[in-house]
Amino acid sequence: MIRLEVRPETSRFWSIGSPVLALLLTVLIGVVLFTALGKDPVRALQVFFWEPVKSGYAIGELAVKATPLLLIALGLAVCFRSNVWNIGAEGQFIVGAIVAGGVALLAGKDTGRWIVVAILLAGVVGGMAWASVTAALRDRFNANEILVSLMLVYVAEQLLYYLVVGPWKDPGGYNFPQTRSFEAVTQIPRLFTGSRVSIGLLLALAGAAALWVFLFRTRAGFAQQVGGLAPAAARYAGFSSRRALWLALLVSGGAAGLAGALEVAGPIGQLTPYVPAGYGFAAIIVAFVGRLHPVGMVLSAILMSVFYIGGELAQSRLGLPKSLTGVFQGLLLFTLLACDTLIAYRVRFGRAA
């Protein structure tokens, strides 16, 4: 008989150890999965976990994928810490990309570099606007933010699709559902030659630092979190739950929108139906695996990025479907939640005394 016993204090060891154990379990299940598929598990693990980090170029690609994941997760951490369940970051990402893409399409041959700033701001505004629909409905009508933000993802997808097959369709695009490619001047500046890493990475890292200061060093950050942990105490202290709701959704919407802008004016360079790549959902896992802590999320964003690139490599090298990425991501969150039990509980064998 296995029992769980409440620990007198939460375990510091397991709060770090649980993500590590969860990752090990995920890899272990991965080995079983690869073997079941008739692939050499050692080779598969090598492709999945080693190739994405083995060269300078590979690490650059890792950073390209980690940037949007980290940005979105930072915003989601503000939400989850204040007990606001924004699950629709994917939609906010898409609308950020749409609005930023709209600005990018305005650029002509002789537009100045300032357009990049306008594009990024447009992305932030777009994401905020989309998130504010959820905030307003929650605030005004008490509508469940999980369901509203999620439904808005499907609406955003259709909106994007409407634009790329309708009014914004590239007339010279051989009838493909896409806008014309943005002018070169709209390209988000890159950090190094020979790598696709852009200033987005710096923005994301600055965001992580800013979040750390906000959460742990400011009164506003404290007030923001009290409502999530102890709503009654927050009320007693006079912290407004409405303010916390709006702040959480606007910050996360803005961050997701910025990520969308960085993607379309960066690696993608035009609007297509393939702009939504699931970053908004993967970022939920990044946020949880990173313990809603800025440093933790930097690490988990890199890890999740390994999964993305590992999935792509598994497709080209091993002939495995790319959706293996989603399987590993989901598994990691699952095992993490199970392992987190160890933080608050001790496992005891044998009958209760």
Partner: protein, 306 residues
């Protein structure tokens, strides 16, 4: 006139998917557990059903496979939230994300594969009534099962002893525990039952509604089913009504396209989602109404002996 009969028939067909899933989620929630994994469960169950039908040719085995897949996934969720006291939102979300990834991964061989044309069902005599026959009595048997299930749940939850126990576990697990009921096992049974109904909904979706496997084909129906339990303020009959209403909205987009309304198809495709948001906002506006019917311990873990 005949086109309206067909519209009603199609509405019942589309609504049945939502009704089966939402009634399952209602059982869960009445026991105090929210299942945000419904979308992932439906996806995996749809795939399980599809693969089974492709290889055995039997629809009924397909439904059974969908239910088994749903029950299995819900059981994992149940262990996490009931015994390991994991946050219900996070665990459900994990299930949805995993289910989305896993079904895409495992279903890659079956993408765009189609099931052969199915024979049409018709109730003898009733099915031959003009207008009413095509509208109501030429449906797949599961359409009637969904209706019967709603009726059964009304009886079960409010008229049977076991239903009373189930509700008490959702309202006040502490009292139920004090009375000697095994709260965790009852919750677990409710979660597994709910999951198997979500699984049946997924299998129905692919076997009867769109017999074609496409990645992500559930397209948010799991989430809409979750929203339905709130619309219905946790009443089975209202769940059924809400499901048909949404089935109707889904069908309306095709109907409007058919009669040549000049709106981009993408805006019509948004309709079910926007309708969900609008109705959710309208219903939630009155907190007293929601709170009066919501299981009091919904989403809260229960630790016996703490």
């Amino acid at each position: 006139m005949d086109s309206y009969a067909l519209l009603i028939a199609a509405t019942l067909n589309a609504g049945t998917i939502l009704a089966l899933a939402a009634l399952g989620l209602l059982i869960n929630e009445k026991a105090g557990v929210v299942n945000l994994g419904a979308e992932g469960i439906m996806l995996c169950a749809a795939l399980a059903g599809f693969v089974t039908v492709v290889h055995t040719g039997s629809d009924w085995l397909g439904f059974a496979a969908g239910m088994a897949a749903g029950a299995l996934m819900a059981a994992v969720l149940g262990v996490l939230v009931i015994w390991l006291n994991t946050n219900q939102y996070a665990a459900g979300l994990a299930l949805s994300l995993f289910g989305g990834g896993f079904s895409a991964f495992a279903g890659i061989k079956y993408v765009q594969e189609k099931l052969p044309e199915r024979p049409h069902f018709s109730i003898p005599v009733l099915g031959d009534i003009p207008v009413l026959g095509p509208a109501l009595f030429r449906q797949h048997p599961l359409v009637y099962v969904a209706i019967a299930l709603a009726v059964f749940l009304v009886w079960f939850l409010w008229r049977s002893r076991l239903g009373l126990v189930l509700r008490s576990v959702g309202e006040s697990p502490e009292s139920a525990h004090a009375l000697g009921y095994r709260v965790r096992w009852i919750r677990f049974a409710a979660v597994v039952a709910g999951g198997s109904l979500c699984g049946l909904a997924g299998a129905y979706l692919i076997v009867v509604y769109t017999p074609l496997w496409v990645e992500g084909m559930v397209a948010g129906r799991g989430w809409i089913a979750l929203a339905l339990t709130t619309f219905a303020t946790w009443r089975p009959a209202r769940v059924l009504l809400g499901a048909y209403l949404f089935g109707g909205v889904t069908m309306l987009q095709f109907h409007l396209q058919g009669v040549g309304v000049e709106v981009a198809t993408q805006f019509l495709a948004m309709l079910p989602y926007i309708a969900t948001i609008a109705v959710l906002a309208l219903i939630s506006r009155n907190p007293a109404w929601i709170r009066a019917n919501m299981p009091a311990s919904l989403g809260r873990p229960f630790y016996p002996g703490s």
